[in-house]
């Protein structure tokens, strides 16, 4: 357990830091709110045709909500991982790496703290569920929290993997454009992938967020036919998380 001490210390520090920053906690809800209530409202009428049959009663905002939840977790997880680049730029990372703790333990700390923060942000979003027409039951919440954490874990793992290779904050804009935005749009968060062309379908299949969004939708929208069975989604997310975590730790350790 001694070897996990650094993991715990870093997790605790990142959490403290996050919760001190009230502006960031609530500020990060702005984008999802805009998506749901402006984009969701605006596109609602034209999108209802695109929603699969049998869900005629489904409002677009309701359809979109689990997707936006996925987006929140993706953004919060990757943003949190990017603090590695900050730490590197300001020297703090070096100090951590000179300390007599294994570097995998530090990397794991970053992933776990990012995942905690991202899933917290996701849970915060659940407050908005009634406004989007999602009726949450206690059972759903019980299932949602671990699912959110798993999704957050895979997203943060990916974030740490990328951040370990980034030398400066400038590179972050690239990540936004080339990874996060495509991942979000190709995850089925905004529109059902059922009628998507083959190339898009293929990309969606290799997109980890697809399974996250699908799992969240399975839990929350009981009358909506999900793309994959829930158990399959979870298996995929666990698999992706493990691979991402392994790669993140390997990359982080190598760069140090």
């Amino acid at each position: 357990m001694k070897r996990f001490r650094a993991t715990y210390i870093i997790w605790l520090r990142d959490l403290k830091r996050h919760f001190r920053d009230r502006a960031r906690i609530f500020g990060s809800l702005a984008t999802p709110i805009i998506f749901i209530f402006i984009l969701g409202q605006g596109l609602g009428s034209s999108m209802s045709a695109a929603l699969p049959a049998g869900s005629t009663t489904l409002d677009y905002k309701t359809f979109m909500f689990p997707g936006i939840l996925g987006m929140t977790v993706l953004f919060a997880g990757v943003f949190s991982a990017v603090s590695i680049v900050w730490d590197r730029e300001f020297g703090f990372l070096k100090e951590m790496l000179v300390a007599p703790v294994p570097s995998w333990s530090i990397a794991l700390g970053k992933v776990v703290s990012g995942a905690t923060i991202a899933s917290f942000q996701g849970c915060l979003m659940l407050i908005l569920a009634p406004l989007a027409g999602v009726k949450l039951t206690p059972q759903m919440v019980v299932l949602l929290i671990p699912t959110l954490f798993l999704v957050a874990f895979s997203m943060t793992g990916m974030g740490v993997l990328v951040a370990s290779r980034l030398k400066s904050m400038q590179g972050f804009q690239m990540i936004m454009n080339f990874i996060m935005m495509p991942m979000f749009f190709l995850s089925g968060a905004m529109f059902p992938l059922a009628n998507a062309p083959a190339w898009m379908d293929t990309l969606a299949k290799i997109n980890p967020l697809t399974y996250g969004v699908d799992a969240l939708r399975s839990i929350m929208l009981t009358d909506f036919p999900s793309r994959y069975p829930f158990a399959f989604d979870i298996t995929m997310i666990v698999l992706i998380s493990s691979v991402m975590l392994g790669m993140a730790i390997a990359t982080f350790s190598r760069q140090s």
Binding site: R5, A6, I9, R13, K16, R17, R20, D21, W86, D87, E89, F90, G91, F92, K94, E95, M96, L97, V98, A99, P100, V101, S256
Partner: protein
């Protein structure tokens, strides 16, 4: 005296787009216990690279390094426990308070929360961090950040503290304060290894120093030894009448303590072993021969003279034309 840092044939090269850059090309160093060891050289000389290898942050390509009694290559973990490292950029998490950073640092080194708290209090006292320890690091001034950085470096009471250009960017007052702090640390038994490109810092602060250029150590010793190696103080004499010049030159050339003499326009420049001893003799001799002296200036050699002697160029100028590969 026991050595806390010993290196033999230390080497490191980096691959860049333009080919392989040999940053460190066979460095031999010895730092004694309790010393303040200055590592002087222009930007790009390889100082930081050497330091980072010794602090286990960069893998050693070839050669040996012993730090705090352990082999850096074979037992990096043991080395890490015993060294503190303060990078050029400084450390500390900017969004946390100074106190939190200190405690985090202590915990990373395996201290219990109670011990880390106690040690943080102690350092906040010792380093006069009291006023701002509870504020977030982002709000600190340059001098305050540097003090905290040093605090982070010594939180776990290391045997050896590596400081990478600790005073770069500080104003004179803060610089003097930091020097004082470094002396205190040294006084309390911590060996200090600092890099600098300031001549005066290497000269005044360090007990011993090494001069590095193009990845090699070109000179090592105390500041005094290095200057004495040049074996000369310079004395500039300007005479009342220009006609006296040649006569004076002839006269002075006979003297055993004058090692070298040059005539420049209206004045003579002599190099003597010991300027203070030579000055009265010179005056007596010139006066006795009826040669009037208008001014006489004695100057001791500086480390810049030492650098010039070993590298063929002045340190001030060397820094400007170098590749800027020292920081990473």
């Amino acid at each position: 005296m026991k050595n806390v840092v010993t290196t033999t044939e230390l080497r490191k090269s980096f691959k860049s787009k333009k080919g392989v850059v040999e940053a460190v090309r066979g460095v031999e160093l010895h730092v004694g216990e309790g010393e303040i060891f200055g590592f002087l050289g222009p930007n790009g000389a390889g100082k930081t690279t050497t330091l980072r290898m010794l602090a286990t942050l960069l893998p050693i390509e070839s050669g040996e390094a012993m730090v705090a009694g352990f082999d850096v290559k074979k037992q990096p973990h043991e080395v890490r426990r015993r060294v503190g490292y303060v990078s050029q950029a400084g450390g500390g998490d900017r969004l946390s308070t100074g106190r939190e950073d200190l405690i985090l640092q202590g915990q990373l080194y395996g201290m219990s929360t109670t011990d880390a708290n106690a040690r943080a209090d102690e350092l906040i006292d010792d380093l006069d961090l009291g006023e701002f320890a509870g504020r977030r690091v982002v709000t600190y001034s340059g001098g305050q950040r540097r003090r905290l950085d040093v605090g982070l470096g010594i939180m776990h009471r290391p045997d050896v503290l590596f400081l990478d250009e600790p005073t770069t960017g500080l104003d004179p007052q803060n610089r003097a304060n930091l020097w004082e702090l470094i002396r205190q640390l040294s006084g309390s038994g911590t060996s200090i290894f600092l890099t600098t490109h300031y001549l005066d810092e290497a000269d005044v602060l360090s007990n011993r120093l090494a001069i590095m250029d193009h990845g090699l150590i070109v000179a090592e010793g105390t500041s005094r030894e290095l200057k004495q190696e040049i074996a000369a103080d310079s004395v500039v004499v300007s005479l009342k009448s220009d006609e006296g010049c040649s006569g004076a030159t002839e006269l002075l050339r006979q003297e055993s303590y004058v090692s070298h003499i040059t005539t420049e326009a209206d004045h003579l420049r002599l190099y003597v072993d010991d300027g203070v001893a030579a000055l009265p003799k010179l005056l007596r001799l010139l006066d006795g021969n009826g040669i009037g002296v208008r001014t006489i200036t004695l100057s001791e050699p500086t480390l810049d003279d030492v650098f010039l002697r070993h590298t063929g160029r002045s340190l001030h100028k060397a820094g400007m034309n170098q590749r800027n590969g020292d920081s990473e």
